[in-house]
Symmetry: none
Subunit: 183 residues, 4 copies
DNA sequence: AATGAATGAGACTTCATTCAT
DNA sequence: AATGAATGAAGTCTCATTCAT
């Protein structure tokens, strides 16, 4: 006999929170909504997490860690065009993976979501690592747009262009375009 | 002449609302904040606008009208590469102009901001008009990314890349990149 | 015709808050209780005061001001026994007056009530002014006990010893005792 | 011998509760705070005590018993000035002892702390026993103030007048003053 | 053209308490 | 002897909105 598989409320909270934050935004999602969806009281959320911000932070944690790990690796690479393309490819995989779990940063650009500072720090360094050495203004902008296009592609386009492409095909097409943007 | 020097509270409301919505988002901006900033009571806002949504809608109105007018013109154009590039150039001007007033759709992607449906409709048609005839999936995606890069460029990059470029230079550089993305 | 005597909710809030804070303490008194007693919603309290602490502070304000004014006068007095006795007599009147409005610092010794710092500052200086010059430890203690006995007398004993004395008689008796304690 | 070295959580709870109740008051002290300080869960408190009130009551128990025992003895005494002074002296010792464990009734005057009724009953009878027979109103008040000064002296002054006196010296000085108040 | 006063709904959070294990 | 998970009630506070003046 094995012990009943505990319904692991904590994980359910993260799951549901993720879904609702993505769909309606952090502000618009109330703890009442989350708890009702799970079938516990609001107070139960506070048993598992200290604050609402804490829930949000925990939801981002995995994705952020994956990004930060990737950065560690990326820092060792030279700034050749080839190496930079490789970094971008790997970053694409990280994003895709994060997306797989759920569209996790639909609201990337919003200051209101807690725990975003770390995300911005990652973005900042990634941007630096993807630029050629002594990048011109134009090249710097191209790099920024490449990264953002990658995000936008996964977050928004994947949903819209819907069924006609498999995820692998979508990735390939997106990377094709994005690598053309990267200087 | 008779009319007292209009203090035009109505315009001030729009102005301040615009600024705060852009900085902190629609949800996070309270009517109290807006009214305090202007130096009137919350109730005064209700003399000029029916609801908070109404304020938001009115703030977008000008920008949206400009976009819709541009669309009317764009519809008459053929789908040649040259014509499409011209449309994009003109759209760029519209965005820039909207930006000039204030970064007005920083949170483009958010459903929570009221009056967004009309904006999405514009985006949808613009996207269609900018694609070559019988566009491939890749070409469709390129078009979407070109438009979004235009937005992102003005909304976010302009602020960051800061002082080294005049607005005209920035526009030129951005359009150079974006036209390379457009199929 | 005169305008209807506005029921002045603000004053009622202070009145009721004072009563409840005194009876049950600051912590135990909820805004719900106050507002229900007055017949308004909790939100109405927030129209008149920024926070619960604010209500408490405003309730103390008058009494504190009276004390501080008295201090200003007391500072000009010499430290003769006679002058000190006069200060104590005047302080007695201030306390009595404060009591008259309501027993306003029943919980003097509690840190939890906001706005108490100012009260403690007053106590501290009063204590200094009431001591003879170069007071011995014993004299310092006597001064402290005299002040505290004054408080305790008005706050607690007046209620208990109830009806047999008029307020004037009570004051006379209390002052008689307290002046015997003062060195 | 069999019993494991008792970690005596029960005693630690009382100890910590005492400290926190004294420092912040009963209301402001939460069971979470107590349990965290000890390093057990809140639920553990409920193994040892039925309710929060129960904890408070148990904390007062020793001091109250000491007082009640003293009362038993005091009842047998005549009402001569000498005997009454002796009672007061002994009561002083009891208070000092209670203080030694911790400042246990800093908030004496608060109704919110459970188990206070018994304490008030003791005070009431003590007050009666310390009055001369057929006491005048003034004498009754003097008695009350003497008792309260004793409390206040130990609870508040001891802390403030700090280091210059040993506990024995402090007691002597305080009793000197208080016996002058007692009629 | 605007204010002063108020409301009702709902937000986040904390608390004492319970109970199966 | 104690924990992990949860609850229900209550708390403070904020918000968009209304309405008589």
């Amino acid at each position: 006999m094995t012990s009943e598989p505990r319904t692991d409320t904590r994980a359910r909270i993260q799951e549901v929170a993720l879904e609702l934050f993505a769909k309606q935004g952090y502000e618009k999602t109330s703890l009442r909504e989350i708890s009702e969806r799970i079938g516990v009281t609001k107070a139960a959320l506070y048993y598992h997490f200290k604050t609402k911000e804490d829930i949000a932070a925990s939801v981002f944690e995995d994705g952020l860690k994956a990004m930060e790990e990737m950065l560690v690796w990326a820092r060792t690479k030279p700034r050749t065009r080839e190496a930079r393309a490789e970094i971008l490819r790997r970053y694409c995989a990280v994003v895709r993976d994060g997306i797989g779990r759920s569209r996790f940063i639909q609201q990337t650009d919003q200051q209101s979501m807690p725990g975003m500072e770390r995300f911005f720090a990652v973005m900042y360094e990634l941007n630096a690592l993807l630029q050629p050495e002594n990048a011109s203004t134009r090249e710097a902008m191209q790099t920024g747009l490449a990264i953002h296009s990658l995000h936008f592609g996964w977050m928004k386009m994947r949903a819209l262009s819907g069924g006609d492409l498999t995820e692998d095909e979508f990735e390939e097409t997106l990377m094709g375009i994005v690598l053309d943007i990267l200087p």
